[in-house]
Symmetry: C2
Subunit: 178 residues, 2 copies
């Protein structure tokens, strides 16, 4: 079977998936979804879990567990580090959050929007500490074909490109640097 990448760079490189809408109305809706999800799983809806959920879904960029702790504590200062670490797997396993491990020791997280695929590559700028999320559906095709050859069933795949920012190195400035 022949496998080809999309024809143009424009098709290959998407902007990061839009985070879920925020603001009073849609936050309430997302929250309700979270509530029912938890109930359905036989898990309790605690104030701490709600605060962590709200904090996570207010983010538009990648965040770490430690950052999430800060954000959640701003909503409910009773939230502890342990509860953040215990809630993160719940949210990732249920596809509410996506976990991104770029091999730096700490894991990053990102709100996962409805219907967004897991066929996403990352470009990591080593100079600007930025992670770009890029749609890469061919990862699925690759994972399938390569696994089949080995009599395996693919579960997840990841594709990451680490890169330097020449503009930063040469001029000391980069519009993407925060």
């Amino acid at each position: 079977m022949f496998v080809a990448l999309p024809a143009t760079a424009d098709e290959r490189i998407d902007t990061p998936p839009d985070p879920p809408n925020i603001g009073a109305v849609t936050t309430a809706a997302a929250r309700e979804k979270f509530r029912s999800f938890m109930t359905q799983k036989g898990l309790r809806v605690t104030n701490q879990r709600l605060a962590i959920f709200d904090a996570a879904f207010a983010q538009r960029e990648h965040f770490t567990a430690e950052q999430l702790l800060d954000y959640a504590r701003a909503i409910d200062d009773s939230v502890s580090r342990a509860t953040v670490y215990r809630t993160l797997p719940i949210m990732t396993e249920s596809n509410l959050l996506r976990e991104v491990d770029i091999g730096t020791g700490e894991k990053f997280y990102l709100p996962n929007q409805e219907g967004s695929s897991n066929q996403v590559a990352q470009v990591i700028c080593l100079d600007c500490d930025k992670i770009f999320e890029i749609s890469a559906p061919f990862m699925g095709w690759y994972g399938n074909s390569v696994s089949q050859k080995l009599n395996l069933t693919p579960v997840t795949q990841r594709l990451q490109v680490s890169a330097r920012c020449d503009q930063w190195r040469q001029t000391g400035t980069c519009p993407r640097r925060s």
Copy 2:
């Protein structure tokens, strides 16, 4: 620009790169190469570093730092954990070893044969704890095009597929399990 994957599965999926020849003669040659490399860099050729080098290049599969410590101690029991951890970066930065991080907390290493590219994907069997190294030159093309789009220069790329072993799950046996 149009980018295509190789046409057949056979072309896409290579066997893991052959480890360097082992045995008296070629080990001596590899060792000599190591010696001259170290000298050239102004680094001292110590018994510990030689033991670590020999231990690493006797391996045909991925190994961890801890395993390398064991193997090296079998050659020279004065080798310490600290020296292993201090020697590993030297060997990876000089492309003697390849470092593989599959996000499990510990890093894996593999002897790198001469001229082997760094365009290598991994298929990780979650059931059999096996890592398959697979030549994937299109990673370079992808890294280049995606980086260019962002005004970045690619440094490294990694592509990993995690998979299940159906045979193991169904029959409780797998020829690949060690």
